[in-house]
Every structure is written in structure tokens, then in C-alpha cells.
Homo-oligomer: 181 residues x 2
Amino acid sequence: MKKPVPLKYSYRLISHGPVTLLTTRRRGRPNVCTIAWVTPVDSDIVAVVVSDENYSFRCIRETGEFALNIPGRALLKKVLGCGSVSGEECDKFRRFGLTPIKARKVKAPLIAECIGHLECRLLPGYEKLAREHNLFLARVAAASVECGLFDTQWKIGDPRARTLHHLGGTVFAVPSGRPAR
Amino acid sequence: MKKPVPLKYSYRLISHGPVTLLTTRRRGRPNVCTIAWVTPVDSDIVAVVVSDENYSFRCIRETGEFALNIPGRALLKKVLGCGSVSGEECDKFRRFGLTPIKARKVKAPLIAECIGHLECRLLPGYEKLAREHNLFLARVAAASVECGLFDTQWKIGDPRARTLHHLGGTVFAVPSGRPAR
């Protein structure tokens, strides 16, 4: 079960630097790719880097929308899979056993198996940034999380709330269950 | 002891999303502030968000340079301290017991106690982005790490290589010692 997150806390879904699964829908067809280079820019604005060699780059440019889905540690194999093949020829939802569900504010699907979701619409006026650096600026239109794993921040005492953080190649760090404060 | 990191791997110092200590030097005076919103944009390009309410914002605009220093978990109190007071009136290096050392390519100092360093110069042509969204794009001119903690990626089996990842407020996640792959 998912519940909405107030937009003012939406940046906290990604401020600790987890890898994401970026989803799009172009010409009715859903796609997903693995994206590690993401940061909040404001409480409800994100910056994401998507290589122009990726099919998702074209999907974002054409539709002006995407969703960032945050996988828990259990999805490691799917995260690696979605980062290793192109969605141009392959239905990665089917291939990697991911379930697309309807988003509230964008046409891009959310991924049922993920623990957090940011529904994003491109900010107008930054085409040059996308063209030159593959960098997209987008406003978060809606955010949601798996019930019980996030109040105003991730509850990493629960193993399901532990995310994947890209160290390089196919290797990721995972938060320990004890937050530092 | 620090050693250089080849620029092609420099993005891996931050691709897992650690909080950073951003340093500047303006009119001969070093400053440091805590910055969580950072992402690689290319193997040797970074994007960082620094609020225009921060003294560091002005330092970056005026000097065109900064360094990103990556603190290990042991520096938590200093990270919180550097994020809670302004460097306009206060020498935060002295106040929080941090040691400025000379960088190789920029005038901004590095922080001896940190485990990784990216020396950065602003990319020209993105003044609007800084003005409108507090977002700076910069090229990494040099990168270095504490010896033994990074080869082509962080060796998080060593507790000293475990970084701080901002969950919200004064709470951080810390990677466990077991990478997922």
C-alpha cells in the first residue's frame, strides 16, 4: 500500500543519494531505466542525468514527464537488469518482472515493487541543459511511499526501507539499520 | 596520506550520494559549508546546489571555484556544525577543528580530516541556472582520496570509508560494511 508524501518532504526520498528506476511512457508504451545521478534542487524540484544514448532520454524529451521510483535493496537484480539493456526493443517491465501502476499526476507509470515515487514534469526553459549535459530539471507534481517506511524521513531501521547507493560497476552500498545523529 | 584519483573515476567519490563539505576561498579567507545536494553530471562534471542565503553562494559566484570534501562517519558533529552557522562572521575551520590544506588546482582549501576531495571550477555559461535555482555546474580539475579507502570505488569494508547520507534534519544514513552486488 502506498501513501502520499507532502511535497515539502518529497526531496527526502532522494536526498541520501539512492539509485532510482526512471520510468516514462511514450506513445502508450512504458519504459524503465536505472539512473544513479539524481539530486534534489529544491524541496519540490529535482535534477536528473539521463544519457542521450538511452532510449529514456528521447522519451523524456518528447513527453516532458517521467517518474523516479526508489527500489529497496531486494530489487538489486532488477536494478542491474534495467541498467543493462535498452528499452527501445525490449519491454523491461515484463522482462524483469516489474509491475507498472498508474501515477496520479503524470502518464509515466510507477513501479509497484518500489518503495518510493516522485512524479515529475520538466521545467520549461532548460532544453540547452538537456542537449549539452543530458541534465533535466523537473518539478515534483506528486510523491508517494510504501506505508510504514517513511514519515518525514526514511525509517531505515526497517530493512525494507534500505536503498541502493551506486559505488561503481555492479556494486552498491546499502545503509546500515542504525542512523547516525 | 592522500593520493590522486584519475579524473575518469572522480564521479565515484560522490555517485553513492554522500553529504559533502564544500570549501571556498574568497579574499584569502577559507570557508566551509555542509552540502547534501550534489550529483555527478559526467565523469568529470558535477552539479551542486548551494542556497543563495549561504555565504558560500557568494564565494562561489565571485571566485568561480570550490572544492567538495567527503567526510567519513567520524566527522558527523563537524558536518552538523558546519551546516548550522554562517561563515560570514565565523571561522568554521577554527571553530570546528578542521584543518585546511592546499589543493592542487584551485585556491579553495581541502579539509585534511576528509577522506575524499574534488577540486572544481565553474563551467562558464550557466549564470542563469545559479541565479534561478542555486545550481552550479562545475568541472572537476583534480580528485584525491585517503590512501587505502578507494581503488576504483569506495572500499566500504573499511569503517573509515563509510560516508554520511542525509535522511533529514540532523539524521544521516551510513553504509553497512557489506556492499550489495
